[in-house]
């Protein structure tokens, strides 16, 4: 589904990500592990076309036909960052934001947003201001906002890092259920081996911007 070849990203003249070859198959849930500064977020930003590499290519074979430009590319995926980064609007409007960017009809926006608010157990929060939520609630909204777009590729950057252990476990369970239900191809960054065991079908280990051995207990990257 996605193939990265000969990728090089530099920051301040220093290489921060260098990947010769990486292939992500449809339905993969790929965990990206590695120490801080290893290039994990950079990889995610390149995959989202939010960062242009100095060299190399990222080929995305979409089921929805050929990709025309970066905007078209980004509208086939969803990104959830470490912080929920909700907008100063109601929970419903936050979940609906991506659908409205895609100019869906208001009827479709209402229907799909309501369904995902329900699935994430936050329907009762729909009228609440996004900025007034607790960390766990906000991250549920961020997940609903991503899943409602029915993306072909879901990119998650340590989505539970800022949560306490209880909220983290609850959301990881929720995410596992949703990924099993939607079979969305996912790349997620994490430091948590428990999340890897719960969610990942494959694991990638990044160090100093390079792919190295796979994390313990996971088949080596071919």
């Amino acid at each position: 589904m996605i193939e990265i070849q000969d990728l090089l990203v530099r920051r301040d003249g220093r290489p921060v990500l260098a990947i010769d070859h990486l292939r992500i198959e449809r339905g993969d849930v790929l965990a990206v592990l590695g120490p801080n500064g290893a290039g994990k977020t950079t990889l995610l930003l390149v995959l989202a076309r939010l960062l242009k590499p100095e060299r190399g290519s990222v080929h995305f074979r979409s089921q929805a036909g050929p990709i025309e430009n970066d905007l078209d590319y980004r509208r086939r995926l969803s990104v959830v960052l470490q912080e929920p980064l909700l907008l100063d609007r109601s929970v419903f409007d936050n979940v609906a934001a991506g659908l409205r960017f895609r100019h869906l009809t208001e009827g479709e926006v209402r229907e799909r947003s309501a369904a995902w608010l329900e699935k994430l157990g936050i329907a009762h929060l729909r009228g609440r201001p996004g900025l007034s939520l607790s960390g766990g609630e906000a991250q549920r909204v961020a997940l609903a906002r991503a899943f409602v777009l029915e993306p072909e590729l879901l990119l998650l950057d340590e989505p539970f890092a800022s949560l306490d252990a209880v909220a983290r476990q609850a959301l990881a369970d929720e995410l596992r259920r949703l990924l099993a239900e939607t079979r969305t191809t996912t790349v997620f960054i994490t430091h948590d081996p428990v999340e890897v065991r719960q969610l990942a079908t494959r694991t990638l280990w990044l160090e100093d911007g390079h792919l190295t051995d796979c994390a313990p207990g996971v088949e080596p990257l071919s």
Partner: protein
């Protein structure tokens, strides 16, 4: 009484138009300065910040020289017209709106841009969403821009000439009445200017704070 009404109306028209035009220039320029990363940005920001403190009388002098009959734009015959006051006030208000817009957008979390693009926003949709997120300081920029021109006198006097029935605005009328020793009239006009400015700012502040109340309600 008729004079007071026409002077007040002209003040509002001229300063309102100058503020509106300063928004048209300042909002996109401030957005580019606040969000963009390009060579010369720091220099441009310094120029804009300096412009925020431009003395109106100096602006009036420069615009008067440009619009003077023998000046480079003398052929347009704009000197001593309301449009000349609008031009001068635009030069005063635009840096204020530009500078405060840039600051307003710089205060937002920079990752919000990535998040919006990652949700499928186009560049234009992203900017609109960021403006909405920064609406409180942006309305403050509008208030500051309007405040800087409705209350200035130097530029209006120099390029407008304070001609009765044509270019006389509240501030220049106050100067005239004070010069004649008509302090009561000058005070009355001053009070009127204050009330009008207050009412306009109340309306803008209401719009601005509505968002704050909604945010704090939960």
């Amino acid at each position: 009484m008729g004079d007071v009404f026409s002077v007040t109306l002209l003040s509002l028209e001229v300063s309102g138009l100058a503020t509106a035009l300063s928004l048209l220039i300042g909002l996109p320029l401030g957005t580019a300065l606040g969000l963009g990363r390009f060579p010369g940005r720091a220099v441009l920001l310094s120029v804009v910040n300096t412009g925020m403190g431009l003395p109106p009388v100096v602006v009036g002098l420069v615009v008067a020289m440009l619009l003077w009959r023998s000046g480079p734009f003398g052929g347009l015959q704009l000197i001593y017209t309301p449009l000349a006051i609008v031009i001068a006030q635009l030069i005063i208000a635009a840096p204020v709106v530009t500078g405060l817009t840039a600051v307003a957008l710089q205060q937002l979390d920079p990752r919000l841009q990535q998040q919006l693009l990652g949700l499928g926003a186009s560049q234009a949709q992203m900017v609109l969403a960021l403006w909405r997120e920064a609406r409180l300081p942006l309305i403050a920029a509008l208030i500051a821009g309007f405040g800087s021109v409705i209350s200035e006198v130097g530029a209006s006097m120099m390029v407008g000439g304070n001609i009765r029935g044509q270019t006389r605005v509240l501030t220049t009328a106050i100067v005239l009445e004070t010069g004649k020793g008509e302090f009561e009239t000058a005070l009355a006009l001053g009070a009127l200017l204050l009330v009008i400015t207050f009412l306009i700012n109340v309306a803008l502040t209401f719009v601005q704070q509505r968002g704050t109340r909604q945010r704090g309600r939960a």
